[in-house]
């Protein structure tokens, strides 16, 4: 971002973030954690630039709802991975390693991006 002061940053966040968060909604429906994590990163970068509460509470509440949905999506995807693994007829070391990799990846994509 090329803003010269925090007020400008807040103005951009107040104006643009609600639009972006609206755009991401359909991705929750199709359980696309990659797109969601990209937006999480963006939100993180925006908030990192703030030192005072200049973003409107309305936008903050939307960010919080977005976080809640991201976490729920992550939980859902991880449960799906575990269920799929449990339903396998045959399990071997390779399949278990693959499941573990998928699980960690989902964890990383949808959850740990909250912690950038």
């Amino acid at each position: 971002m090329c803003c010269s002061n925090e007020q400008q940053v807040a103005e951009i966040i107040n104006n643009l973030l609600p639009i972006i968060l609206e755009e991401i909604e359909p991705y929750f429906k199709i359980r696309n954690d990659i797109e969601v994590s990209v937006i999480l990163k963006l939100v993180q970068r925006c908030l990192d630039l703030l030192k005072s509460p200049l973003v409107s509470l309305e936008v903050v509440n939307r960010i919080l709802l977005f976080l809640e949905k991201s976490i729920n999506l992550c939980d859902l995807l991880k449960k799906q991975i575990l269920d799929d693994f449990d339903n396998l007829d045959e399990v071997d070391e390779d399949k278990e390693a693959e499941m573990q990799e998928d699980y960690n990846y989902t964890n990383e994509m949808a959850r740990s991006k909250l912690f950038l």
């Binding site: 939100v43 960010i63 919080l64 976490i71 964890n107 959850r111 740990s112 912690f115 950038l116």
Partner: protein, 234 residues
């Protein structure tokens, strides 16, 4: 810092109820669940640490007892260095805010945990260096906020902490711990600013300044830290 942590810091009571009710619940389950991965435990501990660090006093009181047990449990029993580091950092955050009478009941135990980590033969190894810095940071918070005036044990603890500065491995922790020390000097922390500490404090400030000047790429101070140091040394 995590998104919810930033929001808590900036908006305090206006967001904490939501974060605790809607976000922390999911993370708390990870702490209760058997078989949570180390990453999941770290994320959960980080979130609660942010709540304890940046939330209101009321929320601190509400969460602190439960989290104290959780941090101590992980710090004592985990083999995962990342989880241990997060837990020990959380204990430091509690030490910074908890009233002295309550903390006094667990002070020795937490200090022993920190010392165990700091005195580990491999404390400076690449694998453990971040953990060691966080244990020093936690010990520093106990020294600076849980002291008793005219108490030799408190005095020794503070001296030990100061002698281990500057921190050089965990950049984020180094910047925070150095800023904490500098802020406490500027706000005339009565224990830190005793006459007996003057010589050691000057040495520490010079060591921090020298490290920052000689190795700016190590980033042991951020701009705010540099400003505070300049103010003190002026």
């Amino acid at each position: 810092m995590i998104i919810s942590g930033i929001l808590l810091k900036l908006y305090k009571e206006k967001v904490e109820e939501f974060i605790v009710a809607k976000i922390a619940t999911s993370y708390y389950k990870l702490l209760q669940k058997k078989g949570s991965t180390s990453d999941e435990i770290c994320f959960a501990l980080c979130l609660f640490t942010d709540i304890l660090d940046n939330g209101s006093q009321q929320m601190f009181m509400k969460c602190t007892n439960e989290m104290l047990k959780t941090y101590i449990n992980y710090a004592e029993s985990t083999q995962d260095l990342g989880v241990m580091q997060t837990a020990i950092f959380g204990l430091g955050v509690i030490a910074k805010r908890m009233d002295r009478q309550t903390f006094s009941q667990l002070k020795d135990g937490v200090i022993n945990l920190c010392r165990g980590i700091i005195q580990n033969p491999a404390a400076k190894s690449e694998e453990r260096a971040l953990l060691t810095d966080n244990a020093i940071g936690a010990m520093g918070k106990i020294a600076l906020f849980q002291y008793q005036m005219n108490d030799k044990f408190s005095q020794d603890l503070l001296m030990q902490f100061l002698q281990m500065l500057p921190l050089k491995n965990d950049v984020e922790e180094a910047q925070d711990v150095h800023k904490m020390l500098l802020s406490q000097i500027l706000s005339h922390n009565e224990f830190l600013c005793q006459k007996e500490m003057e010589g050691l404090l000057i040495n520490v400030l010079n060591a921090i300044k020298a490290e920052d000047s000689n190795n700016p790429e190590s980033e042991i101070l951020d701009q705010q830290g540099r400003d505070l140091l300049r103010q003190i040394l002026a």
